[in-house]
């Protein structure tokens, strides 16, 4: 079953850009120009920079759309309109919010630890953006196919509680510190079932690479049911979804910013651009985590091929549709349920989800060892 230990590298976005340039017929001209001056590496750096810019712009646009979508859905559930004035159906509301936040005074509390206070929002934002690197948006639409992609994602997600704790501690505010401590307790207790359920999938695939995980889910059982891991591991999917929602800090597990108890949690003291960084990170994290759920359990970018359209485009469309379905579920859940208590949260995490995740792993290992699949 061990198929991951090969040196075959799957095509990534770098190769795709080179292929597109080749198709236009300008790649060799550009390469020759740079080679003539002995600076071939400059071309590589430029192509990587283009990828980075595309990812950052994509993240920003997604964040703006998601914040609009969330407000709109919340409003519809509560029999309201939501943002209506700026643009069609209030679609440009996030832009207005962003301009407002940019214009706000950047307040640093007098007793705050200035350096850490300034650094924390950037750590959060960068750690969320880094999750996008091994995320397969489509066939060969991946920044870098790391052979330890899933491990990398879990490791990068573990940076977030550190930066949240930094933010809460540096604010020198009791509400910030309470929110930060809660967030760290929550993130640590839910990363464990998250990792164990992910390992159960890895046992099936035999590789940590996200592209290999997606490739393993291609095809159909009995010609009808797609070979997604959600059908193989329904319990694992539910556990992973709950753990992801808890790790994102969304309702019903939004202890890091529970508005009724702590003012705004760990970013109580933040304003202006730094608050905007936290806001961006929150919604970028929502998209990234939904993308991970789709990649691991919902077949990633796989889907029926459509003739005459290149697979890069169709796979991207499938991926975005599935991701938005997961995001829709997270928002739907947020509109529906209230917050659980902090002791219930830890009870659920340690006493229920970790044993169930271990049971799920045992099941997966048994199935694979017995050679059923």
């Amino acid at each position: 079953m061990w198929t991951g230990d090969t040196m075959i590298t799957n095509p990534n976005a770098y190769d795709l850009i080179v292929a597109i340039l080749n198709a236009i017929g300008v790649y060799n001209i550009i390469l020759g120009f740079f080679q003539a001056q002995g600076m071939e590496y400059v071309l590589r750096i430029i192509i990587v920079l283009v990828e980075v810019v595309v990812v950052v712009v994509f993240a920003l646009v997604t964040v703006m759309f998601l914040s609009w979508l969330e407000r709109k859905m919340f409003a519809v559930v509560q029999s309201r309109y939501g943002p209506m004035v700026t643009g069609p159906r209030g679609l440009f509301q996030p832009i207005a919010d962003g301009i407002k936040l940019l214009g706000k005074e950047d307040i640093i509390p007098a007793t705050a630890d200035r350096w850490i206070f300034t650094l924390a929002p950037f750590i959060v934002f960068v750690s969320v953006l880094l999750v996008f690197i091994p995320l397969p948006f489509g066939e060969s639409l991946i920044l870098s196919d790391l052979r330890v992609g899933l491990l990398y994602i879990i490791a990068i997600s573990a940076i977030t509680p550190v930066s949240i704790l930094l933010a809460g501690w540096a604010s020198n505010n009791k509400y910030s510190l309470m929110g930060a401590i809660r967030a760290v307790a929550q993130d640590i207790s839910y990363t464990i079932p998250l990792a164990i359920t992910a390992i159960a999938v890895v046992v099936f695939v035999g590789s940590l690479s996200t592209v290999d995980i997606v490739n393993a889910q291609q095809g159909y059982w009995f010609g009808v049911i797609p070979k997604w891991f959600i059908f193989l591991q329904p319990l694992g999917f539910i556990l992973f979804l709950i753990a992801c929602i808890a790790e994102m800090g969304r309702i019903p597990f939004d202890f890091q910013e529970s508005e009724q108890e702590l003012v705004a949690g760990f970013f109580t003291e933040y304003s202006g651009m730094k608050f905007a960084m936290f806001f961006l990170a929150e919604y970028a994290h929502l998209f990234a985590v939904s993308g991970i759920i789709v990649t691991i359990f919902l077949g990633g970018w796989t889907g029926p091929a459509i003739p005459l359209i290149p697979i890069q485009i169709t796979s991207l469309v499938y991926f975005v549709i599935k991701t938005y379905a997961v995001i829709f579920f997270a928002m739907w859940l947020r509109d529906t349920v209230p917050r659980v208590r902090i002791d219930q949260l830890l009870y659920l995490g340690w006493k229920i989800m970790i044993p169930l995740a271990l049971l799920n792993l045992l099941f997966a290992a048994f199935v694979v060892t017995a050679g059923v699949i």
Partner: protein, 138 residues
């Protein structure tokens, strides 16, 4: 064995999800209740107590409204050749006692409620702003 008594089927959450989904898909009578205020306004109730208005022909300037007002909002001032009440709406509590006390039924309260202003002086509504002429029906 406390975990046995927990509701593992999560029926409550699923019921709630169905209710919110009905809202999202607008199934049943789930109209949007928001009134988009600056663009559309709600109809004011007929007995709403807004800004005052004084019937120019009926008012005799007797000053009973002035003595009745609990907040000394009203002052009788000379306007042209006659005496009329002047309302300092910054002090008015819109109780309507002046309307009850008027012997000539000259005072009434309109449905106008957008009375916010920039200065305290502009909140003093003199006779030039509150007088109205009743249309005489013949």
């Amino acid at each position: 064995m406390a975990w046995i008594s927990k509701n593992w089927t999560m029926i409550g959450i699923i019921k709630g999800l169905i209710v919110t989904m009905k809202h999202i898909l607008k199934i049943g009578n789930r109209k949007t209740v928001t009134v988009q205020y600056p663009y559309e306004r709600m109809k004011v109730a007929p007995r709403f107590r807004g800004r005052h208005a004084v019937d120019e022909d009926a008012c005799i300037g007797c000053g009973i409204c002035e003595t009745t007002c609990p907040n000394s909002t009203i002052q009788i001032v000379k306007y042209g050749t006659r005496w009329f009440p002047e309302f300092n709406l910054g002090m008015c509590l819109f109780c309507g006692l002046c309307v009850d006390a008027c012997p000539m039924n000259a005072l009434k309260m309109t449905g106008e409620y957008e009375l916010a202003d920039y200065t305290r002086e502009s909140l003093i509504y003199g006779p030039e702003r509150i007088l109205f002429k009743k249309e005489v029906s013949k």
